[in-house]
Symmetry: C2
Amino acid sequence: METLRERKKRRTRDALLRAALELFTTHGYERTTVDEITEAVEVSQRTFFRYFAGGKEEAAFAVQDLAEAHFVAAVRARPPHEAPMEALRRAVLEGWDTINEAVAAVVPVELYLRMYRLIESTPALLAVHLRRSTEREEELARLLAAREGLDVDADPRPRLAVAAFGGVLRVTERQWSTGPDFSPEAMRALTAAHLDLVGPALTGHWRST
Amino acid sequence: METLRERKKRRTRDALLRAALELFTTHGYERTTVDEITEAVEVSQRTFFRYFAGGKEEAAFAVQDLAEAHFVAAVRARPPHEAPMEALRRAVLEGWDTINEAVAAVVPVELYLRMYRLIESTPALLAVHLRRSTEREEELARLLAAREGLDVDADPRPRLAVAAFGGVLRVTERQWSTGPDFSPEAMRALTAAHLDLVGPALTGHWRST
DNA sequence: AGGCTAGTGACAGCCACTGACAATTGACAA
DNA sequence: TTGTCAATTGTCAGTGGCTGTCACTAGCCT
């Protein structure tokens, strides 16, 4: 079972994380200081940095970590006979269908979505988000390459395909976060629509839809 | 003509920029302090921040700005009858062919390439680079949409196509910056090869090639 | 020549982050 | 229980990026 010490640690971390996200999403990321977060939880500043060695940034992406791991797991769970792009497509849609399972245990889904929007609208956070996305893309490229029996360093196709897929997701994120409907369902629908359009978008001529 | 004041300003800025890039590329980005840069040029720290309000970051990307503007200009110069993706492809290859013209007036091309590598290998800089890339992609999407007579907010295809194109460039940058040949020619060749492969990469099955 | 103003330096201060050391508190065995 | 050990936390001091303020100097313009 869980020892008292571990329980306390977990609570402190959760309290810090929740306070951080709440402050970020209400007052803005850069405008909230670490001191404000620790005052809200009544711990020392030093303690915050011990839980989040990456500083405010790590706190800001803690829940994203869960959601993205959820998505990668969905990719891994796809049957091996599916074509790579098809597996990615189904996994990402599945991920949005079941986003609650991945996130709700730590923070309300609504807070996660608010934080997602904040990341998209805060340049410093968006930059980090994009870097993290490329790290995930590298992971997926290796995954798919292994699945198809390819050497990811000899054959660029897995990385290229995943990068193109990632590009579609970025366009989707951006449109979703600036649009009027912040529900997971809206995100899911937009993702599906965009994935359907990427083929036509690349085939040269747009005038003759 | 150019007044004495303006000449002095220009020189100070150039000196700061060159000192910054030189220090970044030799000692590393984060390990270089602003004080070190200003001591090398013999100005106060405050002066550095007056020229580079964005701090070290702005200095790190000053030359990238030139190169990227060079590329966008090449896209604009493409004949309107070319298909969008074809215009992007030719413009980016052209950009690497004539990179000297865009950069050499301010810093040696070799220093620019070293800085490029450093950006790719420094997480904090890579993140910013990726965000800047999406800004450029937005610019290109609007450009191409206008060219084709489309409304970029109503039709997602321009953004999707440009995002996929950008994804290919990112894969290329990454491979180039970790490879053995840092010449513009190598970058050009890699870019062309990857652009040729993105089509096949997206067509479902990789095993039977 | 002399007033105007842009550019600069010096200084003070905020915030993110880190290292070192001391104090506290849970864990566990005698 | 109680004493010991180890994990957790707080305090303090310091570095570096960055900003506001103010006074001063040097180029500009009439």
